[in-house]
Each structure stands twice: as structure tokens, then as C-alpha cells.
């Protein structure tokens, strides 16, 4: 293994270290939080989720203000209007055109202007109950709606079947209207307000109870801890959903009741987690160091223990929000949620289920809203967990 190539003498001089040769090889070091942020940004579903959640919050706050409709305003003449429809056009002998669409579930005709705004319901002649048909007059032209066989047909006097022009998006009610003629979009946004408020407030209540309870148990330790944790153990074997239901029965439906009910019941996991963190961190040397330097209990708790357990707490919080949303909608669904005309995603879904057979599309928006929100919080929670502790990545 001899090396015969000539090596210039300068190479045998001592390595000049001032050139920073040693520094070059070390990778740039990031602080923990910089690293967390970098990992979180690299996680695409999490980033999309953050964007979605921010957008959702903004539209929940400002959306209802921008809408010309209110969440409680009813218009029974324009009930169950779909968000998209096929339009027809009839021209009478004077040349006046009428554009309208047929609601195939309630056999009503609605006039639509050229830009897609709803003008109103078109009054027809008397319904012929035997022949299952109804005549509509457009100027001097008569069109007969024949619903004796489905799908219903529109027949001109000469016997020709009217053909639709094409699909048109409902420009007045972007998401259509519900069975009471309320704008689905604004109710949807209003529902987002309620659902998110319930979720955030209930989560915060859980958070404070959990931190307080778990923090005390973990920090004091010993007998206090044993008793407190035994209580938690008992509570956690109780089926909590049942107790939310019971509390709702006692407190009567309403926004505050549901926040109280969810908030007072689901803090157990948080308490356990905080206690576990604190017990673990208590063993760490820097706590002992702080104690020897004479730091008091409060200071150690707030300056040393909590900041260091913030990661897992954050993840638990993110995961609590979707379950709070879910429980709220669940309660609303079985009739224990907010009271009408207030709306939450749960009540919207449950109202939509009532009209599922005739108007299945009404289920789409609340179901999509709640599912997407659950997706977003789940992805964000997963992303946060991975970013905070890469070892937990699976």
C-alpha cells in the first residue's frame, strides 16, 4: 500500500485550523422550536390543515356578517331549494322569456333570472290530483307538469316534452335552502361558529381542569397523588358520554350547558398526561438544580415543568378539539344540543337526515364540514406530535 505519487512538501505542514475547517463539517444546529417548526412545515397534510382551520375560523366569524340572509330567517315559499338545478326556458308569443327550474321532489317550479338568481315560486293552476299533473301559464303559453310517472316531465301544449337548457348554480342560495327556506350557507357558517365555540371553550375548560388536577397530583406526589389518581381511575371507568347526556338532561339544552357538560367530563386524559409529564420531569436534574438554588414551588411549576411538558399538552389539546366537536354534534343529533333556531353542525346534520329521502343533498354540506374539520384537526394533531417528538413518529 505504498503511495508513489509525489506529495508536495506544503502538504506536510500543519493544518491551518483558523480557516474554519473544523466548523464546516458541523451541521447547522437548530433550537428545539426551530426544529419543530421546520418539521411541521415539511408535513404537507398538517400545513393544509392549518390553512383550512384558519380559513374556517375566519369564515365562521365574518361569513354570517357578509351574508344577506340570517340563520333564523324563514321563507317557506323557497324551502328545499337545491344548490344546483337544471333550468328550462319558455317563450310566449309576445317574446317574453321565462327561465325556471323544476324541484323534482316537491314538484314546484321556481323562476330564475339569467344570472342564476331565484326570482320566486311560479304559481300554477289547480293541481289535478287524479291525473297527477299541474298546468302552469307563461304568458299565453301553458306548460303541463306531469308527475304521474317519475321522473316528472314538463309537457308543452303540442305534446312535446320540454328539454332542460343545462345546469345552473343557485346564485341566491349558494348551498340551497333547508326545509324552512333558510339559507343553508349562512346556517352552515353559523353552525361552524357554534361548533367551534363549543369545541374551543370546552377544550379550554378541560385543559385548565386537567392541568390543575394533574399538575397538583404530579407535583405533590405521595399520598395526595395516589388518592387523586385513584379518583381519576374511577372516573375513567365511567362511560363519560353517558354523563354528558345526563348533564344535558339536567341542565337543559343550550350552548352553555353543552360547554359545561363536555368541559366538566373530559379532563381526565389531560390530567393523567400532565401528571405523567410532571413526574417524569421532576426526576430531571435541572429541577433539582432549580430547587437547590432556592426556587419556590410555584416558580418551578411555571418556569420549569410546564414549559417542558408543553409539547405533549399541545398534542392532547389538538386531539381534544375534534372529539369535542364530535360530541357536540352527537348530542345535537340525538336532540340534546343547541336549541332551534340556533344551528350547529350536529343539528344541521340531524335536520338533513329528516329530509334525507327527498333532499339527500342537504346532508352533504354539514357532513362535509364536520368531516373536513375532523380531518384537519386529526392531521394537525398527528403532524404536531411527529414534529414535537420525532421518536414518536410511526
Amino acid at each position: 500500500m505504498s503511495d508513489d505519487t509525489n506529495i508536495p512538501p506544503v502538504m506536510w505542514e500543519k493544518l491551518d485550523r483558523t480557516a474554519g475547517a473544523a466548523e464546516v463539517i458541523t451541521a447547522p444546529s437548530l433550537t428545539y422550536w426551530q426544529d419543530v417548526r421546520r418539521r411541521l412545515w415539511a408535513n404537507k397534510p398538517a400545513v393544509v390543515s392549518i390553512a383550512f382551520i384558519i380559513l374556517l375560523i375566519l369564515s365562521a366569524i365574518f361569513g354570517p356578517m357578509l351574508s344577506p340572509f340570517s340563520y333564523y330567517e324563514q321563507n317557506l315559499k323557497l324551502a328545499n331549494i337545491p344548490p344546483v338545478f337544471e333550468t328550462y326556458r319558455v317563450t310566449d308569443s309576445t317574446g317574453a322569456e321565462t327561465r325556471f327550474f323544476l324541484n323534482a321532489s316537491n314538484f314546484n317550479l321556481y323562476e330564475v333570472d339569467n344570472s342564476g338568481h331565484i326570482v320566486g315560486i311560479i304559481r300554477g293552476e289547480r293541481k289535478d290530483m287524479l291525473k297527477k299533473s299541474q298546468a302552469f301559464q307563461f304568458g299565453d303559453k301553458i306548460v303541463v307538469l306531469d308527475y304521474s310517472s317519475l321522473p316528472a316531465r314538463l309537457v308543452a301544449p303540442d305534446g312535446a316534452v320540454l328539454q332542460p337548457e343545462g345546469w345552473q348554480w343557485n346564485m341566491t342560495y349558494l348551498f340551497g335552502t333547508d326545509q324552512l327556506g333558510r339559507d343553508v350557507l349562512v346556517r352552515q357558517l353559523y353552525g361552524a361558529r357554534i361548533s367551534l365555540t363549543v369545541a374551543f371553550v370546552a377544550t379550554l375548560v378541560n385543559f385548565f381542569i386537567g392541568i390543575f388536577y394533574g399538575g397538583i397530583a404530579g407535583y405533590i406526589g405521595g399520598k395526595t397523588d395516589a388518592v387523586m389518581m385513584r379518583i381519576v381511575e374511577i372516573i375513567s371507568t365511567i362511560p363519560l358520554t353517558l354523563y354528558v347526556i345526563l348533564l344535558m338532561v339536567v341542565l337543559d339544552s343550550g350552548l352553555i350547558s353543552i360547554v359545561v357538560a363536555i368541559g366538566s367530563v373530559f379532563w381526565v386524559d389531560m390530567a393523567r398526561m400532565v401528571r405523567g409529564q410532571i413526574l417524569m420531569l421532576k426526576q430531571q436534574d435541572y429541577v433539582a438544580a432549580a430547587r437547590t438554588m432556592g426556587a419556590g414551588t410555584g416558580r418551578i411549576l411555571t418556569k420549569h415543568l410546564l414549559p417542558n411538558s408543553i409539547g405533549p399538552i399541545l398534542v392532547t389539546l389538538t386531539m381534544l378539539i375534534p372529539s369535542a366537536i364530535f360530541i357536540e354534534s352527537f348530542m345535537s343529533f340525538i336532540g340534546l344540543g343547541v336549541t332551534p333556531p340556533m344551528a350547529s353542525w350536529g343539528t344541521l346534520t340531524s335536520e338533513a337526515v329528516e329530509t334525507l329521502r327527498a333532499y339527500p343533498h342537504q346532508l352533504f354540506f354539514p357532513a362535509a364540514a364536520i368531516s373536513l374539520t375532523m380531518f384537519a384537526f386529526n392531521f394537525l394533531g398527528d403532524g404536531l406530535r411527529d414534529a414535537l417528538d420525532p421518536r414518536m413518529r410511526k
Partner: protein, 308 residues
């Protein structure tokens, strides 16, 4: 081991006692109180309630009486339906609820675990992606949405299965799917991550270093360990399947306990709410106990009773 079981039984009794107490006083905290006669009770119910609880007695006497009748497995008469006892209501709905619940648990285990295993063994390949996509959807979409969508598509549109009732086996398909959807996904995700974690363990390397066949390594060394966390959640899963049945039974119009419960809530049938809650709690705790005993058998590290 017997000591551990005794301990657990003791804790269960304490918890049940707490539940009965909590439920009783919660129901008495209802504005006006559940047993107040201004609510226009049918006279025969009032008479029955009076006989049962002694409504004119002070509350703690009523409480003790209630405790006593609970200990004799008597949940009292219904508050709204004359001549019907809560026991009867439960007996009436229990078979349906248990059947759907049990089928759902089987579904969770038989679908969720294999899905997780397939995903973990094909990490970052298409089967993993597919399973994770389905599982993420299952976790994110609420069960009642799944239920209504299933109902709409398969019963109303396609007409493959009946929209309600359990007259033949096809009637069970949708309720069981809707009921177990979330937990199938949850268990799939859990068993995937658990198996991935297990595959990373040193003893798996040891098993491979001993020259064991891949099947031996996976089934003997990998699965047993990775299924432990799955078994631990089966208790809560059973609990949640049963409470989840409130909505599912409602949507599919199944005559189970959940439906009775929701009806009692809308009717404000306080004795029924109270009775069914207590019954549910007891049922769930028995389930959790059974699961925990199973867990004990799976993980020998706990046999010494060091952990509770």
C-alpha cells in the same frame, strides 16, 4: 392473580356505587325534580313511584331505598309508560343491542387488526397508503354521517338492504358497519403503529438473528407483543360501541336499548334514563374487566400484580 381480580371487582363495586349515587342526585337536580307530581303523572304511575321510592320521604331516604332496590337488580317503574318497568325496557332492547354490538366488536377485530398488519408490513407502499386513507376517513367522519350515507346509498338508492328492521341478516349489515366504522379505522391505525414499533424492537432483531423464518418472527414474536395495546383499547372500544349505538339504533330504527334511552331522553322519562344509565355503566365495566383479564393473560409482565 386472584388477588388482582378481587381488587378489580372491588374497584368496580366502588365505581358502580359512585355511578348510582351520581346518577341519582343528578336526576334529582333536574329543575323541579324528576318525581315532582306537577308533571301530570298518570295516577297509577304516581302510585307505583310512591310505593317504590316513597316520594314524600326525605331525599336521603329515597336514595337509600333506590340503592336497596338496585342491589336487588330492580330499576323501578317507568316514569312515562304505565305498567312498564325499566327492567322490562332493558330486557326488551338488550338482545338487539348486544347482537349488533357483538357483531361490531367482531368486525373491529376481524377487519381492523388485519388492515393494520397489512399496512405495517407494506410500510409506505400502496397497501399502506390505501389502508391509511380508509382509516383516516373512518376516524374523521362521524358515525352518524357514515350511517346516513350508507343508508341513503345502499338502502334507499340501490335497495340492496332493508332501510330498517332486523328481519333477516341483511338488516344487520349497515348498522354494524356504521357502528364499527370508526373503531375499525382506529384499531387499524393502532395495530399498524404498534406493529411498526414492535418490528423496531431489539428482540425482533434477536429473533431474526436466530435464523427464525419470517412467519415465525412475525406471528410468534411480533404480533403477540403488538396486539397488547390493541387489546387494552378493546374495553373502551366496547364501551363506545355501546354508546355509539344510541345514534345508530335511532337512524336504522332498531329496537335496542340505545333507542329506548334516546326516547326516554326526549320523553324526559327520568326513571328510565337513570336505570338505563346505571345498567349501561355496569355492562361496560364488566366488559372492561373481561378485556383486562384477557390482557393479563397476554402480557406476562403484569402477572405479578405490579401494575393495576
Amino acid at each position: 392473580m386472584p388477588l388482582y381480580v378481587l381488587q378489580r371487582l372491588g374497584l368496580m363495586l366502588v365505581t358502580l356505587f359512585a355511578i348510582v349515587t351520581l346518577t341519582f342526585f343528578l336526576m334529582h337536580a333536574v329543575p323541579g325534580g324528576p318525581f315532582v307530581s306537577e308533571r301530570m303523572l298518570a295516577p297509577e304511575i304516581e302510585a307505583a313511584l310512591n310505593a317504590k321510592f316513597g316520594l314524600s320521604d326525605p331525599i336521603w331516604v329515597q336514595y337509600l331505598n333506590y340503592l336497596r332496590s338496585i342491589m336487588m337488580f330492580d330499576l323501578g317503574p317507568s316514569f312515562k309508560y304505565p305498567g312498564v318497568s325499566v327492567n322490562q325496557m332493558i330486557a326488551d332492547g338488550l338482545p338487539v343491542t348486544l347482537r349488533t354490538g357483538l357483531l361490531a366488536v367482531i368486525c373491529v377485530i376481524a377487519l381492523g387488526v388485519p388492515m393494520g398488519i397489512v399496512a405495517a408490513l407494506n410500510r409506505n407502499k400502496w397497501p399502506d397508503t390505501a389502508v391509511m386513507m380508509v382509516a383516516t376517513m373512518g376516524v374523521a367522519i362521524p358515525s352518524y354521517v357514515i350511517a346516513t350515507v350508507l343508508l341513503y346509498v345502499f338502502a334507499l338508492r340501490l335497495g340492496w338492504v332493508p332501510t330498517f328492521g332486523l328481519d333477516d341478516w341483511r338488516g344487520y349489515i349497515l348498522p354494524v358497519l356504521a357502528l364499527s366504522g370508526f373503531w375499525v379505522s382506529f384499531v387499524a391505525r393502532l395495530s399498524r403503529s404498534s406493529l411498526l414499533e414492535t418490528l423496531d424492537q431489539d428482540y425482533m432483531t434477536t429473533a431474526r438473528a436466530k435464523g427464525l423464518k419470517p412467519g415465525q418472527v412475525l406471528f410468534k414474536h411480533g404480533l403477540r407483543n403488538s396486539l397488547i395495546p390493541v387489546v387494552t383499547v378493546l374495553g373502551p372500544v366496547t364501551a363506545n360501541l355501546l354508546t355509539g349505538s344510541f345514534v345508530i339504533e335511532q337512524i336504522f330504527a332498531l329496537p335496542g336499548i340505545g333507542r329506548h334511552f334516546v326516547l326516554s331522553i326526549t320523553n324526559r322519562d327520568y326513571t328510565a334514563i337513570m336505570g338505563i344509565t346505571i345498567f349501561y355503566a355496569a355492562l361496560l365495566m364488566v366488559m372492561i374487566l373481561i378485556v383486562d383479564l384477557l390482557y393479563l393473560w397476554l402480557d406476562p409482565r403484569i402477572k405479578l400484580g405490579k401494575q393495576a
